[in-house]
């Protein structure tokens, strides 16, 4: 189902929970709503479902305004954060609920439920009650229940929040496959950027009730349009006076500008390892932290502290070591603007033509 939202607002008392959010979602896409706690993600989802009515703005499904339709008639499936399974019903009755309401025939219900039970890997659990299931199994029952009446849009509110980290990665791959197979437009909420990046076709970053940016995970990572998005996605260090770092002297032209540098944009090593020594400068290793698969290195350059990672395969550094540092690029931002600045010296000053 094609979805369009225009100027959506929601007020609780005088608190603005959702503020002027507009977006469009193409049929069949899987969208991740990502953002810090209290940002308004659940509120947006609930308004799409009709469980909460917008203070203003339009919600349009398939070109038809649905603001005044009750949840019963919107053709959506909703998976709640803690699943909200009917606790006095068996798995079978939970999944068949939406079909019974519609007055489908017994055989039809049986067939559909059994195929969903099979699809979600719950075969043999049909007669269990929710309290006799594990978290992951409950999640799948909630998923099957939401899918049973063949909704046009699937909404999932932090579907993996209550599941431990290991099964979580497993389940989200499973969910992505499942949604692809069913081919249903879906929106899921998450706190976890890794989850959003891994699963979603497109990510919408929500902060303080506003839609900060919408785009594919790669676009958002590569091209953050606001300071919030840049600092929220990936890791980063904020540098107050970037003009003191080699290759970024131009930043002095914009007074009051700060920079945000991702660890992966910083390279450290011996001077001889760099192809363009002119673009590098010296720093001192301040601390080293072992991070399981790599070292996290804190480097001090003047009064600026930079954070980067270093492969375990390379020489082990010691605190106090002098290292050569190259910064490839930085996000610059001030009150009115954000932009990306490449290391000017990296663009070879004297290109050699062979």
């Amino acid at each position: 189902m094609h979805i369009e939202v225009r100027g959506l607002k929601k007020q609780f008392g005088d608190f603005q929970a959702v503020n002027d959010v507009s977006f469009e979602i193409e049929k069949g896409h899987l969208i991740g709503l990502l953002g810090p706690s209290g940002g308004g993600k659940t509120s947006i989802l609930r308004m799409l479902a009709g469980l909460e009515s917008p203070s203003s703005g339009d919600i349009i499904f398939h070109g038809k305004r649905v603001n005044d339709l009750p949840p019963q008639e919107r053709g959506i499936g909703f998976v709640f954060q803690n699943y909200a399974l009917f606790k006095h019903m068996t798995v079978y009755d939970n999944v068949s609920f939406g079909l019974k309401v519609k007055g489908q025939s017994k055989e039809f219900i049986r067939e559909r439920v059994m195929s969903l039970v099979e699809l979600t890997g719950l075969k043999g659990f049909e007669h269990r009650y929710p309290h006799q299931l594990s978290g992951g199994q409950r999640q799948r029952v909630a998923f099957a229940r939401a899918l049973a009446p063949e909704p046009q849009l699937l909404l999932l509110d932090e579907p993996f929040a209550a599941i431990d980290a290991k099964i979580r990665t497993e389940l989200r791959t499973w969910l992505k496959d499942m949604i692809e197979r069913v081919g249903i437009t879906s929106i899921f909420v998450t706190h976890d950027q890794e989850e959003a990046i891994e699963v979603a076709d497109e990510i919408m970053i929500i902060n303080k009730g506003r839609l900060e940016q919408k785009g594919s995970p790669w676009e958002i990572y590569k091209n953050p349009q606001t300071q919030f998005v840049a600092s929220f996605i990936g890791e980063s260090t904020i540098v107050e006076n970037i003009e003191r770092l080699k290759g970024f002297e131009e930043a002095a032209n914009w007074p009051g500008t700060q920079a945000l540098i991702r660890p992966e944009y910083i390279e450290i090593g011996k001077l001889s390892e760099f192809r363009l020594p002119s673009a590098t400068f010296q720093g001192t290793v301040k601390h080293l932290h072992f991070r399981g698969s790599e070292w996290m290195v804190e480097v001090q350059v003047g009064d600026i502290k930079l954070i980067t990672y270093r492969s375990l395969e390379k020489d082990v550094l010691q605190p106090g070591d002098e290292v050569t540092v190259l910064i490839h690029r930085a996000y610059l931002f001030n009150d009115s603007d954000t932009w990306i600045m490449e290391n000017r010296l990296k663009v070879d000053p004297m290109p050699i033509h062979i």
Binding site: L51, Q72, I76, F86, K87, V101, P149
Partner: protein, 265 residues
């Protein structure tokens, strides 16, 4: 030390509960089975028991329906303002705070023959005070908080998500109530019914004030016991008290059973 307290507790229990029950029992049996039967088969006894029976049935039915409804509104309705909810919520407790006698008096003052509303009802031939409707009203007043207070916490505990899930699956409120909400609150409601029956069976003060305690007309089992005691008719008083006590014990057992089921689900 602990043993002493336990013994003491039992002692208080025996003095306050067991001995009176035995006393009632022996009192009723003072002239044997015949005395008991005779006391109960008096016209006023049968009438009083019937009145009590009618009051219990009607009050329990009304209280159950409206108690559950009010609990649902107080917990779930989004269209009632927060202030209004708080106000209504404290209003529910009013009968707990006000003495039943005062409650009865309020009804007499509001609906008695000398009041405007009472006169109006009297004119259209519907007697409220000193008649069955007033007694039912008085008992309703006294028992009203019981159902609401039983059901509200259950509703709060189960939360509204299951109901919201049902609505996204296409179920409207009536279907949702019977298939999703009711199974969860069922045992709370049954517990509330038992409490209401017990309370309306034993209500004395409010009913006494409203009914005027007219024999064979507006007398209930409890007010008859009171009158029999006044008239030193000890056997009769004990006999009716015994019938009431028997019901209470039955209800107590039912209550225990309902409570257990409530915890299981």
């Amino acid at each position: 030390m602990k043993k002493l307290w336990i013994t003491l507790t039992y002692l208080v229990f025996i003095i306050l509960l067991i001995i009176p029950i035995i006393k009632i029992f022996t009192g009723a049996w003072e002239e044997g089975w015949d005395g008991f039967v005779e006391a109960l088969s008096r016209k006023q006894s049968l009438h009083a028991l019937m009145m009590t029976g009618i009051i219990v049935v009607v009050v329990t039915a009304i209280n159950t329906v409206f108690g559950v409804m009010l609990a649902l509104y107080l917990v779930r309705a989004g269209w009632i303002g927060k202030r209004m909810k708080q106000f209504m919520n404290s209003l529910v407790d009013l009968p707990f705070a006000v003495s039943p006698v005062i409650g009865g008096l309020m009804i007499v003052l509001l609906l008695g023959p000398s009041s405007i509303m009472g006169a109006f009802f009297e004119d259209i031939g519907f007697k409220v005070v000193y008649a069955l409707p007033g007694m039912i009203l008085a008992t309703l007043f006294v028992t009203f908080p019981l159902m609401v207070r039983e059901v509200m916490p259950v509703l709060q505990e189960i939360g509204s998500q299951q109901e919201e899930a049902a609505s996204t699956l296409g179920a409207y409120s009536w279907y949702t109530f019977w298939h999703v909400t009711w199974p969860s609150i069922r045992w709370g409601v049954i517990y509330g019914v038992v409490l209401t029956v017990a309370r309306s069976l034993g209500e004395f003060g409010a009913v006494l004030v409203v009914s005027g305690n007219i024999m064979n007309k507006t007398q209930t089992a409890t007010t008859l016991v009171y009158q029999d005691v006044e008239n030193f008719n000890v056997i009769a008083a004990n006999s009716i008290a015994l019938v009431l006590a028997a019901f209470s014990v039955g209800l107590l057992l039912l209550m225990e059973w309902a409570k257990k089921r409530k915890e299981v689900h």
